[in-house]
Symmetry: D2
Subunit: 374 residues, 4 copies
């Protein structure tokens, strides 16, 4: 079997993360999962050429359509701003390429569903870059929930708190423009939290959300003029899973002091789990059946017994990093495509996440509980 | 000035806490704040006599009405189950006694307001036992918010999570009976959280809540038969303060593993605060203006520079305990009564807390945002 | 049985702590353990009278010898600076009084042993104020060690780190004078750590210590002139218990940032324990036999199942404070005296602690391992 | 400039870590720091061929001498057990290759010094794999110390606690054989701690150590027979830096529950720093000059402002992992070799670390303070 050849579009924050992971996957997971870094697309030929050299790609191009059309590219990896995902994904699908796209998949649920349908129709594989759920400890968490180790689960608390726009002086950016970014914190951060909730407890049925734009205007970095921020800084929601389990979401890009606060707690009749991404190598577990006087949340450190950790390191507690999650994700993408079976989280999950986001937005506008579209 | 003479009704968990605090206040805060432990009322003469001896009271009585009527009692201190507060408070007020009553003040907002009005009409002083806000570090938190040290505050997250009814096998108790306890976790724990929110950020204007009864039936401890649980195990709410600041509440008596999880976070443009009652001697503060590369939440340990701490101990980090908060509260009660000025949290605050609780309950029933009654 | 009448000498930091505990013990532990606060001695009549009133004592005196001689005083409670302990303790013993003395018992091991011998000869009871070991969680720790729950224990790490003299500008005080304070951090803080080690693992056989005076001179607060600091700011030691278990001590009064860092770790073949006084309501336990992939240090919160906690509060996780430890200690003193049996930690333990301190000092001087005198 | 070609010997735990880092360095740090994975040596041709394919190397060999001699190999990267380092390093030096060797450099200080001298004489560059000091937060720590941000530093506490041999049933391995592994925990873990101490505070002048073998015998995995453990499980030491700063070391491979406990604290007149490798993305800093009542250890999360972090991720708090430290180390090796300047930690540092280890061992044997050989 020959190695899959990846074409990467975009070299911003997340594009570089993909590049690092594409380079790392083989050494970590073995040759079967070693992609070929075939081609890199950037704004200009020059930038693409430099990027390709710096990031270990064979070739660069200033025209992403060229990359999509290139016969030596098997997988199109989309790392551009949200509003470009749709056009690029559809073009790649049309060219018969497998597609690996960053979250959120699109700016609307309808668009996301259309992309997923097109991909299925074309018979290509598709995956969305929800990297956080690749954490070995979150697989442990899901297993503990699924196996009944927590008893009957009846409550979920989830939050994703960052502060990258906390400073009132942070300039206006495309992230503040609804036509480019869609919703604000909800799209950027909330999409991860929703996917994580799906991962642990299944689909979400309804929500009652509340959105807040703390800084209604920000300075345009070019002109210095005030520009309207068109989407929310904070989203909060009461939610209910299809299973009947209620919960809450709290999502913010202005959570002063929090840097990567993707946190959750799950409560069940026999135990509870707590997790926070800023300490991504720790899972806190409370076992209700512990001997009286000896109960307490225990901090499980990630180790080789947990899925995928061993590929990085045979010693427990040595710790994975943020980029390692992406390396696991790349392995998942390669495995999905080469196995021919559907992977997860695929574009349908991408669309589902979008539908939850839209139900939160709609419920805010209508000030009422709102069903998630099926 | 002669010392205030207290009559305490009830010797359960919270009654004993009051007794300990009444005994401690003088040695901690000085003679001015040393109450006389005059009289104790319990179910029977025998229990009252034994209780009085054990808890350092001069006399005991099996009839609380006798205590209320006793001319040597200046302050009636009510530590009985919620449903008895109203009758006892009104009787004490009618007898011209100052009243110090445990939370929640009553089972309905209307009742609470009536008690407050009666107390005002009678010209007696009144205080509710919201002990958590007596914490020196919460006074620091409030001061930091009020002084602008956090900049403009725009978000609040609060929760009160305990697990005392987490075990499905925990028996049915009066706490499950709506006529006796009112609401469930909301009344027992949520009342503290609401008071704390008021303390930090002022009045709450509206809420959209969601209630959940995880264990719909519990075994009657006497008969062993299943009995319906008539109030909620968990309450969640989106809230909005009168100031316009939005927030969330999460309240649970079935939060497996959590023992005293009265936690909050406040976010502002210049900083953030985090607190958790299980580590009540720590306040975590993030200062946005810290030198680049040196930012981080710092853990402030309670010390003599923080209000009231020094009375307990001149050395920082040595730590107060749960009962010490009650000792501060008793000092506040004595100070309020002897100064003649209105104290806080008084019965009006007790009624206000109740109105927020009722708006959460109503919003759950109507599945809609609900204004807090004025 | 009549209540024990206490005479307290000294109203500084620790004297007030004793006074608070003497007032609290009865309400917490019941009438049997309610001391009578009979008499208070201070520098002057006036100070003593004010102190007695403020701290709930019946009478005050400006002459501690009067207190010792007073027939209404059953127990002499010594809370003065170290160098006064000896004279006062011997006078109290001579007067046939039980003696409750703060740590360190004396400035030398020889003095301490002489006091212990005198007390035994006089047939009075004697206890030293090592309050930290009164913590319910430390009793749990000792029980876990003794019962074999940790397997064979083979290593101990202990430290007591504070920063009360960390500021180079902190003035010279009696604590810097060897004739008044004896050793420095070792006497003031190390005595607690040594007692704690004894409590958990038994006697210490030998040590190799190293002392350090960081600030060799400090300003006299009166004259402003530089005065020599005659004892150490930091003591470190390799130690070995009589049982053969090795360990380390680290003791500092200049540990910038640490406020009450009495911390230890115990390692055994089947588990480990970690504790830190700044979070005195938490004990961290690692169970080696936990299911693979589920191991981790768990944080046990103090609760009513742990010895003595229930007397303060029936709810777990609500937390004791520093002063509560002293209340337990007072109960222990009363119980020891009224039971007639020897208590612990008595003056012999006080002398033993002193001998360990002296072996550390001697080993520093001789730069060699030094046996603890028997 | 052409890319450096690496030949890697050994594919165990640390060999795979090197392989992953060699593959990652280019994508993370750019083409200048992209090594060529030229050749891999393993026990057999077959293993080497499979390893090369799996780990992204161009070629494999069953004979490490072939790798050393290969003209296409510029740098020999030694990841074999300790006892093989010497022979391989000397062979590589003899062949004129640059050498990158895992710690400890050799089994004795004399051997280590000889290797360093040979490398210097041959004019090749040399580096030792002390990966932990590559942490961006430790560079921040060093900068804070060096710049005086902590004031005058006067105390160091360091420990490296793991539990990989904590289980009494763990089998005998080459690590228990003095001729193969040299000392035990001291060599394996202590070498990192000593290097870290050097990194932060410079050379160590003397030590008084104490060694302990908890499990004197372990079962041979083949025969099942008991075999003597020839080196220590735990090493403790009082130390003194050449600068006069005293400190302590505690090193254990049987620290039940600890997985990667490379922890330290540094105390100075103006502040303190705390670090623990299990939370490698956090540095705790106490600033003594903070406003009164606002002091506390703050948790600085690693971010792009700290050296090298940005190459991995532009967002703070997202976190590096253990393998990322090795990627930084590989970049350092490449930079050292290509710049032609001496790097650090080089073989002289490797020898210095060894001399500290030997002084600790000697001081244990002689039960006396022992100077570190110059």
């Amino acid at each position: 079997m020959s190695r899959l050849r990846f074409g990467l579009i975009g070299t911003g924050f997340i594009g570089r993360t993909h590049a690092i992971a594409l380079n790392a996957s083989g050494a970590v997971f073995g040759e079967r999962f070693a992609p070929v870094c075939e081609m890199l697309a950037d704004h200009t030929e020059e930038a693409a050429r430099r990027g390709a050299t710096a990031l270990g790609f064979a070739r660069g191009t200033g025209d992403w359509r060229e990359l999509v059309a290139d016969p030596a590219v098997d997988v199109v990896d989309i790392c551009t701003p949200n509003y470009l995902h749709r056009e690029m994904a559809l073009a790649a699908i049309a060219a018969g390429k497998h597609v690996y796209c960053e979250k959120p998949l699109a700016n609307t649920a309808q668009e996301a569903a259309a992309i997923a349908a097109a991909a299925d129709a074309a018979g290509v594989r598709h995956m969305v870059g929800f990297n956080y759920i690749c954490n070995p400890l979150l697989h442990l968490a899901r297993e503990m929930i699924a196996s009944g180790e927590l008893g009957e689960v009846y409550a979920f608390r989830g939050s994703y708190l960052e502060d990258y726009m906390s400073d009132p002086a942070s300039p206006w950016s495309w992230r503040c423009d609804r036509s480019l970014a869609g919703s604000g914190a909800l799209a950027d951060l909330g999409s991860h939290l929703i996917n994580l909730a799906h991962f642990l407890l299944g689909g979400i049925a309804r929500a009652q959300g509340s959105l807040q734009t703390v800084h209604a205007q920000r300075r345009d970095p070019a002109s210095g003029a005030a520009r309207a921020v068109e989407n929310e800084d904070i989203a909060r929601a009461l939610i209910e899973f299809a299973s009947g389990i209620p919960g809450t979401f709290e999502i913010s890009r202005v959570a002063t002091g929090r840097k990567c606060g993707l946190d959750f707690t799950v409560f069940g009749t026999r135990g509870a789990l707590e997790f926070g991404q800023e300490r991504m190598n720790e899972l806190r577990w409370y076992e209700a059946a512990a001997r009286a006087g000896r109960e307490g949340f225990r901090t499980i450190l990630a180790g080789p017994i947990h899925p995928d950790y061993r590929a990085f390191c045979p010693a427990p507690g040595h710790g994975l990093g943020y980029n390692d999650l992406k390396t696991i994700e790349v392995r998942n993408v390669v495995r999905t495509i080469t196995s021919g079976a559907a992977g997860w989280p695929d574009f349908h999950e991408g669309a589902r996440v979008q539908r939850v986001m839209e139900s939160i937005e709609r419920s805010h506008a209508e000030r009422a509980w709102t069903e998630v579209a099926p």
